[in-house]
Structures are given as C-alpha cells and as structure tokens.
C-alpha cells in the first residue's frame, strides 16, 4: 500500500525536473555548443558526436542547441495557451452548466458548432492578415493565442455537465438557501469543484498545443525558421522509415513526456493515494 508521503516526494521531484528544464533552457546561451541557427553544412544529418551531442539536423544545425532553445518557446507558450483555453472552457462551459436551461442549451449548441467548423480557414485568414515580415516572436504568440482561443470546446462540454451536476448537489442547495447566489456561488462553490476536469483540460492541452503549433507551420503560422520549437523538432519523427536507425531524434519526445508527466504530478491531489 502506497504511503501519503510518496506523492509529496514525487511532486518535489516533478517540481525539480520542471525547474531544471526551465533553468537549462534559460541558460541555453551558455550551455548550447552553438547557436540554434548555425548550419554545419559539412556535418548535415550527422549522428551524435563530441561536437554535436544529439547530432545535427538535415541542414547541419546542432540538435542539442535547438532542443535547448526550443524548450523556451514551447515550455512558456504551451502552458500559457493551455491556461487560456482552460479558463475559457471554465467560463463558457461552467457558467452554462451552472445557469442551466436555455443558457446551457444555447452555449452547448454554440460549442458543438465550434467543434465542427473548419477553423483551418480562420487560421489561414489570420496568416493572410499578418504581414509577411512579421517577427518570429509575434508569429508564435499569435499562434498560441489562436490555439488557446479555439481549444476550449471539448472541455466546455464536460465542464457544462459537471456544473450541471453540481448545481443540484446538497451543498450548493444549502449555500443557495443560506442566501449565497449568483456569481459568488459560482466562483466560491461550483468552480473549485470543477478542478478535476479543469486540470485534465490544462494537462492535455499542453502537449496538444505544442504539437499543433508545428502543424500550423503549413499555414505559415507557428514558429518561423530558424527558431526551433518542440513541435518542429518532433516533426522529424515523421521520417519513420529511418527513425529506427536514428534514435536520438526521440530526445525531444522523451523531454516532452517528462515535462508533461511532471505537470501531471504537480496537479495530482493529495488524497489520491489513500487506500
């Protein structure tokens, strides 16, 4: 039987891991053997070596450097976009479920519509509106903003159902009977009890948005060359025919899994381990 203390230990480990990853990425200027954009064209596609710990990519850029610098962007903006989508889901889905009736029906119809529309074309239009010479930072900020603004829909439905269930629970009825109503009831009594779904939404959104950013590269959004991101590094895995011979390409995936697992550890509840 697991002891309660083990969760605290693992949370500590998770915290340390995240801090380490963040710290290393911030120290990329000193730790990276070369700039993320420098092309060692004589050593393009090289395997790991003393000079290039994770080898080089197809045009000779040091992969280790790109992982370090890419961590900054993905680790900062991925969770930020995830937070935005979670908050939107909480507001829209949670409020709809809390208010019930026509509000819930209307909000969920809008949510279903949102789920079905081809947002690809909105993103293409956003790219068209942005100047061609937009700075890579603005491009990536806009990308993650769009992801956050569009990624709330699946969680909203679950949150609506959760809030709908909570609306009729005894403690909420009791609170209402005590004279607490409206926004206060929602923020103080209902919203905190939606944490499981909120945490799930946040946790899922981080890797999903990081990967989506890379896919949005086909529309001209996302991180522009030569800036690296985890998403663009993970796209190398699509060359599956040779991936078995180049296992070092899995390092960004392993790093992402470690970070995502660490986030989950941080979000886990204390009473999870009581038997």
């Amino acid at each position: 039987m697991a002891k309660p203390a083990s969760l605290s230990f693992w949370r500590g480990v998770a915290c340390a891991v995240l801090l380490l990853v963040v710290g290393v990425s911030l120290a990329a200027n000193w730790l990276a053997p070369a700039g993320y954009a420098k092309q060692y064209r004589e050593a393009a596609g090289a395997p790991p070596s003393h000079e290039h710990w994770l080898g080089t990519d197809d045009i000779g850029r040091d992969r280790f450097a790109r992982v370090l610098y890419g961590t900054r962007i993905s680790l900062l903006l991925g969770p930020a976009a995830a937070l935005l989508s979670t908050l939107l889901a909480a507001l829209i889905g949670g409020l709809a479920g809390y208010l019930g009736g026509g509000w819930a029906r209307g909000a969920m119809a809008v949510t279903d519509l949102f789920l079905s529309l081809p947002w690809l074309f909105l993103l293409i239009t956003v790219r068209a509106v942005l100047p061609l010479n937009v700075s890579p930072l603005v491009s990536v900020l806009v990308t993650f903003l769009m992801l956050g603004l569009l990624g709330w829909t699946s969680a909203a439905r679950v949150l609506c159902a959760t809030a709908g269930t909570l609306r009729n629970t005894d403690f909420v009825r009791q609170a209402r009977a005590s004279g607490i109503g409206g926004a206060r009831l929602f923020w103080i009594h209902v919203l905190p009890n939606m944490k499981p779904a909120l945490y799930a939404q946040f946790w899922i959104s981080i890797p999903v948005f990081i990967l989506s950013e890379a896919n949005l590269g086909i529309l001209g959004l996302g991180v522009a060359e030569p800036l690296p991101s985890w998403g663009s590094l993970l796209k190398e895995l699509e060359g599956l025919v040779s991936i078995g011979e180049e296992p070092w390409k899995f390092v960004p995936l392993i790093l992402l899994v470690i970070v995502v697992t660490s986030f989950q550890m941080l979000l886990s509840k204390q009473d999870e381990v009581t038997a």
Binding site: R41, A44, N133, V134, I218, L219, G220, G239
Partner: protein
C-alpha cells in the same frame, strides 16, 4: 498392332495440341504479372483531353493511343498510330498516314474520322485544357480533312512550333464508341477505379503493337495504381515489396535504399526540372517603393544570386543528387542548353561589393540601402515541401552573411497562388519549374511579358524593360522559325539575357531519381516523364 496404332494416334493428337498451343502463344502476349506503383494524388479525370494533374497524365500515358510517340529514352519522335507524317514548311499543316486494322479497346474500329473528331474536340473553344492550348497559336478555326480512312490532314490557323511533337500528348478518342473516353487505343485500359484508393488498369486486348518476335504487347496483365500522397508511406511499401517502383524518389530515400540495395535505385542524372526563386517586380504590388526599387534592380538580383551557395544546396538538401543550376534550361536538355553559360559562382564578397556599389552600406553588420532602410525581405514557398523549406533556410543563412535578413514563410499552395497571381502580395518566391518537354515553346508563356504566367511581372501591357522586349521578340522568332539551328540561336540569347538580368534566380537542377524492384524486367529509367514506366508495354513482373 492395335496397340501401336493407338500409341501413334495418341502421339499425333498430342503433337497437334502442342502445335496449336504454340501457335496461340506466338500470336498471344506473355501474360507477365501485375505492376504496382503509387500515384501521388487522386486523378481528376479520365478524359484525355482535359488532363491537367500528374495522376491523370500518368493514366493517359498508359491508356492513351497517340499518333506519334516521343521515345523517352532516345528523345526521338517515333510512329505510333500513324505510320508516317508530314509537317508543312509553315508549320500550319500536318498530314498523317494511319495504320489500318486497329480497334479501340471495346472493338470499335479506329480510322481517320476518329482523329478528326479528337482534334475538333481538342480545339473546342470551350475546352480550356493545357493539351488543347498547346496548339492554340492564333485565332481561327482548325480544319480537318479526312482524305481516306487512313489519311488525314489538319490545318491550323497559325504556325504551331513543334507541331508533330505536340501530338505525343493527344490521345485519340473514338467518334462512335458508346464508352466515350473509356474506349482507348493504348496498351492498358481502366478496369476499375476505387476513389481515393486505387486505379486498376488491365491489358487492352485490342492493342495494336507487337514486339520484335511478333508477340502482342503489353507483356503485363495489369497495372495497379495506389493513391498515396505520402512519400514516407510510399517508401515503406516499396521496402515491403508492396509496390514495384517509385517514379520520383526523394534523395534521402535514394541514399538509404542505395546503402542496402544499390541495384534497386537509379540516378538518371540531372532532370529537366529546376528550383528557382524570383523577386516581385510588379509595379502595382502592395510593397514599399524602396523594396520595389531593390527587386527591380538587376544588379540587386544578381548580387543575391552570387550570395547563394548552390553547391551546398545540392550537396546538403539533395544529398549530392542535384547540380547547381545555370539558367532556364537544364544541361540534361542537350540540344537546347546554352553550353556557354556557367553556374553563378558562390561569392558573398563579390555580392556585397556589388551591393555597396549600388549605394547599399553595412551598419553594424546590417545591410541598409542608400535611404537607410534595412534590407529585410521574406521568401515564401509552399508548405509540405521539405526540400524547398530547407533551401529557403539555407538562403536565409547565406544572405545573413552579407547583412540581409530573410524571413522564411511557408504557405499552403492556394494561398501562395493567390499572392503570385492575384494580390501580388509577396516579396520573393521559391518554387520549382517542372519541364515535361524539351522544346523551349513549352516555356513560351513564362517568357512572354504579356502572359499570365510571366511570373515576376505577369500580364504586362507592353514590355516594361528593354530586355523583356528583346526576350518577347526572340521567343516569337524561335517559335516561327522552322530551322532548329536558327531557333537555337534565338533561344540561346534568351538564356543569356535570363542569366544577365536574373528575373529568376536558378538554384539547382535535381537529378531524376527512381527505384525499381528486382522483379521488374525491362525497366530502364530515364529523365523524361514518366521516368520508370515510359516503356510500360514492354515491362514484365516476375
């Protein structure tokens, strides 16, 4: 006695049966298996006159019967359904003498009437196809005259350069068959089509051709074409022997296959295709005036060209399976290539010097023009093409060395086309040119300044520069000339101007790479499309 007679009779019967079978076999085809390969997209049409996309072109090549066929290996025009032909001196009229006794796949007889019907359909003003437009050299009606069931002459309103060669793309259709475009004269016919999945071609039982031993062609029973846009999956399937050939093999897969099975890969040398970039020279483009000044300066364009390391591009991006490009024509096009031209040498110092003489200056490592504007521009290319994305990133690094900041933007193809053809909202584009044919007339609309596909500055009312006017005159001259040497002289000069003025900055000519499995007999990949199955009627699969 009875027993001997019985034995003799039996032997005679056996011999007769064997002789009968041999007779059938001599007149019949070999029945040599099924060839399988992938199409990279869904075919849009089976109507040979409306073909535009690569998948439909492939099917037309395999099923269409043509009057003359360009031998992709020797690059010489050979008789097809026509035994002989004659082109008039003014290139307006062509007469064909057809083979007799030929039928379409459904048994309908083929005659000069079908040729007339096909040509009339092709030249219908409402058709709007690339195949038909190749013959539209001037306004007016096309006259067809059926002299006999096996003789026809076709007269065009204006000269058509390379008139006979153009018929390599025109698959004959039946005027009478109820099956319309599905009745074919080629070696194969469409037997089944599962949208999004496969196209199955079966041997055309009425195909007219035989081999040197008198055996009916094609050797193959069928060809299965799987629709597979993803090259990784295509490569996987080839390695698993699920398909027999890859027509356009990526250079990284070439190397990987070559390391384990060198006999399966083929490098036919430089192809006719080129990768190039160009700057926006459209006067009404929504760009700042100072940028327009840069892009419209030939000296600026040449300096950029000098600053790009083409050798690195060929070596790194294409793993050595490409050559630095010289000009609009690949060296693989032996007759038309201007051998006096050389690839631009990589020289960032010379490029910077040239820019400095133009009034640019370096300010803390950043190049600025005479008005103090930082030299920054974007290169747009189509997303999903990893080679172009890599080339653009390499150009970005090369130009950074001379203080120029380049932003690489990848867009989906429709958005890219809109910017190139309608909004002109771009600064530089990196794309490729696929040359299907050898003749410079195939590039006519690229060079004519009034054309919609004169990419750097389309649809000019009058040529905006003297050199564009010169190119217009030269292209028209070579199109009107009958003597190949005179044509070459004109087109050589076009190539020289193209290199001097650099409206296109030619980057590399990719090699024609392909893969053919060991079980395929008779394959001999070439540079002309279709590289691996150009002689499909003579291929066999063990």
């Amino acid at each position: 006695m009875r027993s001997s007679r019985f034995t003799l009779t039996k032997s005679l019967k056996t011999f007769a049966l064997a002789a009968f079978c041999l007779a059938i076999m001599t007149g019949s085809s070999l029945g040599q298996g099924q060839l399988r390969f992938c199409l990279r997209s869904e075919p849009k049409t089976f109507d040979p006159l409306k073909v535009e996309d690569d998948a439909s072109v492939a099917i037309r090549y395999l099923t269409g019967g043509v009057l003359v066929r360009m031998n992709r290996q020797t690059q010489v025009l050979e008789p097809g359904l026509a035994l002989s032909w004659k082109v008039s001196k003014d290139s307006r009229q062509i007469s064909f003498k057809l083979r007799s006794g030929i039928s379409f796949s459904d048994g309908t007889a083929f005659s000069a009437e079908d040729v007339a019907y096909t040509v009339q359909q092709l030249m219908d003003p409402g058709l709007h196809s690339a195949t038909g437009d190749a013959f539209r050299s001037g306004p007016g009606k096309v006259e067809t005259k059926v002299v006999s069931p096996t003789e026809i002459s076709i007269t065009f309103p204006a000269p058509v350069a390379g008139l006979d060669r153009q018929f390599d793309q025109v698959a004959m259709m039946s005027a009478h068959s109820p099956k319309k475009e599905m009745a074919v004269l080629g070696p194969f016919m469409v037997a089944d089509y599962k949208p999004g999945a496969t196209v199955l071609l079966k041997r055309n039982p009425n195909y007219w051709k035989t081999d040197e031993q008198g055996r009916k062609l094609p050797y193959l029973d069928s060809i299965q074409l799987d629709i597979q846009p993803n090259r990784d999956v295509e490569m996987l399937r080839f390695k698993r022997s699920e398909i027999d050939l890859i027509n356009f093999l990526d250079s990284e897969y070439y190397d990987k296959l070559a390391s384990t099975s060198p006999n399966l890969v083929h490098d036919a040398g430089p192809s006719l295709d080129s990768e190039q970039m160009w700057f926006n020279e459209v006067a009404k483009a929504p760009l700042p005036d100072y940028k327009k000044d840069w892009f419209r300066s030939a000296a600026f364009r040449r300096a950029i060209s000098q600053a790009i390391n083409r050798a690195d591009m060929a070596r790194v991006v294409f793993r050595g399976h490409a050559q630095p490009a010289v000009g609009p024509v690949s060296p693989a096009n032996k007759f038309w290539f201007n051998a006096k031209l050389k690839a631009e040498p990589y020289s960032p110092d010379a490029a910077l010097k040239a820019l400095l003489t133009q009034g640019f200056h370096l300010d803390n490592g950043v190049l600025k023009d005479s008005k103090g504007n930082e030299v920054v521009f974007s290169i747009v290319t189509n997303s999903g093409n990893k080679y172009r994305e890599r080339m653009a990133t390499m150009i970005q690094e090369d130009l950074q060395k001379i203080g120029i900041k380049v932003n690489v933007v990848t867009l989906d193809f429709p958005s890219l086309i809109e910017r190139i053809t309608q909004t002109f909202d771009y600064e530089a584009i990196l794309l490729g040119l696929t040359n299907v044919g050898l003749d410079p007339n195939d590039q006519m609309t690229v060079w004519l300044s009034s054309s919609d596909t004169h990419q750097w500055n389309p649809s000019e009312k009058t040529p905006e520069t003297p050199w564009e006017a010169e190119i217009d005159n030269l292209m028209r001259a070579q199109a009107a000339a009958a003597d190949p040497e005179k044509r070459k002289e004109s087109f050589d000069r076009v190539q020289e101007i193209a290199v001097e003025q650099a409206p296109f900055i030619y980057l590399v000519n990719r090699n024609a790479l392909s893969a053919v499995s060991a079980g395929v007999q008779g394959a001999s990949p070439v540079i002309l499309v279709p590289q691996t199955y150009w002689n499909a009627e003579r291929l066999a699969v063990k």
